[in-house]
């Protein structure tokens, strides 16, 4: 069941100097989703996420977390339930790495044993060896290590929602890419709801399940990355995506995004006669053969049935057909088709069940 965990209802924020930082924004976020907020500086993306933990209070509208109006919740309790990771990390310089990470658990009264256990667990999670890093001070860490500690601190009390405000913005490109990859790995494991602010569209595409593109305090488009790439709402989004959207799409899309589902298929036990009848009915010269459980077995062509009256498809079909997984990446799939000189390939899932096919024509129309 889809559970809406965050809801913004016609929210605006007008600062005392008259700036409309957030302008009548409404959206919903599902539990476990990672939504990236992207846009040029001053577009209101940071203000939008800060509205959730009430570092900024809305001028109009209401914000709901777990169906509760955040304005009516105790602000300290609200913030403790939301992890917060920022670009400049903000580690406390007089505390060790372990003390920094375990601060929120300490404030909410965890026992020392639990805190130590949790700290080591989190250090391992963010790729820092507990023995080596526990008692270091922030000034003894590199930028990347500091941000890892920052992420660990944000996760410390196991909050269901995490706000990340340009967490990798201050890092060099190599460290940033590395941390992004680890972030994706971490996300898959933790299943947290994440609001992720970035000014980098590539980062937004890489880490987000959905992207909220913002301009002048408004959400211009709120869609999954593939849709943003394929159908940018306007010129602004298109420019933000930049050139080479086809290449970006190729990195992002999975075989299942491109495949044609529900192809003509026949059971492997079927007789030649039945097969011929189905081919005539479907006006098709080729059928995919599946087993009882829908598992892919092979391919049968019309010419293979010529002058045959007896037997089953199983005896006649072509078994030596390469397949691709539905969650496979696009580039290797394309490579496979080009090398094997194949115009199409069957797509199967984990259990080898037939899901559909990918064709060269599909590729061509998808990326253009």
């Amino acid at each position: 069941m889809i559970n809406i965990i965050i809801k913004f209802d016609k929210v605006s924020k007008i600062f005392p100097d008259g700036t409309k930082a957030v302008d009548d924004v409404s959206f919903e976020i599902q539990e476990g989703e990672c939504v990236t907020f992207v846009g040029p500086s001053g577009c209101g993306k940071t203000t939008t996420v800060k509205l959730l933990n009430r570092l900024v209070e809305p001028t109009h509208g209401a914000i709901y977390l777990n169906r509760e109006n955040t304005a009516k919740v105790d602000v300290i309790a609200l913030r403790r339930g939301i992890g917060y990771v920022i670009q400049d990390v903000g580690l406390f310089p007089h505390m060790t790495v372990a003390q920094n990470i375990s601060l929120v658990p300490r404030l909410i009264g965890w026992s020392t044993v639990d805190r130590e256990k949790r700290t080591d667990e989190l250090l391992n999670l963010v790729g820092l060896e507990p023995l080596a890093f526990r008692s270091r001070y922030p000034h003894q860490l590199s930028g990347g290590q500091r941000q890892r500690v920052g992420v660990a601190r944000g996760l410390a009390a196991d909050p269901p929602v995490i706000l990340m405000d340009e967490p990798f913005g201050a890092l060099d490109p190599i460290t940033r890419a590395q941390l992004q990859d680890e972030f994706l790995r971490l996300r898959a494991r933790l299943k947290k709801t994440i609001l992720f602010v970035t000014h980098d569209m590539d980062e937004a595409i890489k880490v987000g399940d959905r992207i909220a593109v913002m301009r002048s305090g408004r959400i211009v488009q709120f869609d999954p990355p593939i849709k943003i790439l394929r159908e940018p709402a306007d010129r602004f989004v298109k420019d933000l995506v930049g050139k080479e959207s086809g290449l970006k799409l190729m990195k992002l899309a999975k075989v299942s995004d491109i495949m044609v589902p529900g192809v003509d298929q026949i059971l492997e036990g079927s007789s030649v006669l039945e097969t011929k009848r189905l081919m005539a009915e479907k006006r098709s010269d080729i059928l995919l053969v599946v087993g009882d459980q829908g598992t892919f077995r092979g391919v049968i062509r019309f010419e293979q049935l010529n002058h045959k009256e007896e037997g089953t498809v199983e005896d006649l079909m072509d078994r030596d057909i390469p397949t691709v997984r539905d969650n496979g990446e696009i580039r290797p799939t394309l490579e496979m088709m080009l090398k094997g000189k194949r115009l199409w390939l069957p797509v199967v899932d984990e259990e080898k069940c037939l899901k559909g096919i990918v064709t060269m024509t599909q590729f061509a129309s998808f990326f253009v």
Partner: protein, 237 residues
């Protein structure tokens, strides 16, 4: 310089550059210390007492005011300004101003010392806290620390070295100013100095001035050590 010029002045004798005169001068000063150990000790303890009480109370008041003006920043400039004006009043004038209201003795002396210390205490506390990185502030707030928790767990420890430097300045200054407070009957080593001046007794002046100087140097060094011990390990770099 002829021998007759400073026949009875031990300090002058010390600088005559003649071993015999140096010895005479030195012995005459030493004699005063040997003959009046209880008096000097009593006055030194009095002096320390005045300073310790003044520094303790002014730390409490000054740090509290310093914290308050970080919360109400608009008050910061006027408050520090007033503390600065008080600081520029000559000590004798301040003592004199207090006498009609509080009379003489240790009370007006303490009040004056506490007033003088406020500039160093308030300013250092304010600067130490205000200069904490904005990212640290935002992280602390965002992770759900209350105002009080943030003050106790982050602001005060991080600002501690700067606050300690303020206490150190105030302490050393108070030792000096407490000497003058003897003039309004607060006791302490200043008593010897004023008596010595009045009776042209150089030995007595030195018996007051020397311990005051040593006390100031000693306290300054003590605070250097304390700053080192109290600075959180993460900030020592």
């Amino acid at each position: 310089m002829s021998e007759r010029d400073c026949d009875h002045d031990p300090v002058c004798l010390l600088f005559c550059l003649r071993p015999k005169d140096f010895e005479r001068g030195f012995l005459s000063i030493l004699n005063y210390f040997i003959n009046n150990p209880n008096l000097i000790l009593k006055l030194t303890l009095e002096h320390i007492k005045i300073t310790v009480i003044a520094v303790s109370i002014s730390t409490l008041i000054g740090v509290a005011i310093g914290i308050l003006i970080t919360r109400y920043k608009r008050a910061a400039t006027p408050v520090i300004g007033i503390a600065g004006i008080i600081y520029t009043i000559p000590s004798l004038a301040l003592f004199g101003m207090l006498i009609p209201f509080i009379g003489i003795g240790i009370k007006p002396a303490l009040i004056a010392l506490i007033l003088y210390s406020q500039l160093a205490m308030i300013r250092n506390t304010f600067i130490g806290i205000v200069h904490i990185d904005a990212a640290i502030r935002e992280a602390g707030k965002g992770m759900g620390m209350s105002n009080w928790q943030f003050l106790r767990v982050v602001e005060l420890p991080v600002a501690l070295p700067v606050i300690m430097a303020g206490i150190r300045t105030a302490a050393v200054m108070n030792i000096g100013t407490a000497t003058i407070a003897a003039y309004i009957g607060a006791g302490g080593l200043g008593w010897l100095i004023f008596r010595g001046i009045a009776s042209v007794n150089t030995e007595q002046i030195i018996a007051g001035a020397l311990p005051v100087t040593l006390l100031a140097i000693g306290v300054d060094y003590l605070f250097v050590l304390m700053e080192r011990v109290l600075t959180p390990a993460g900030l020592r770099h």
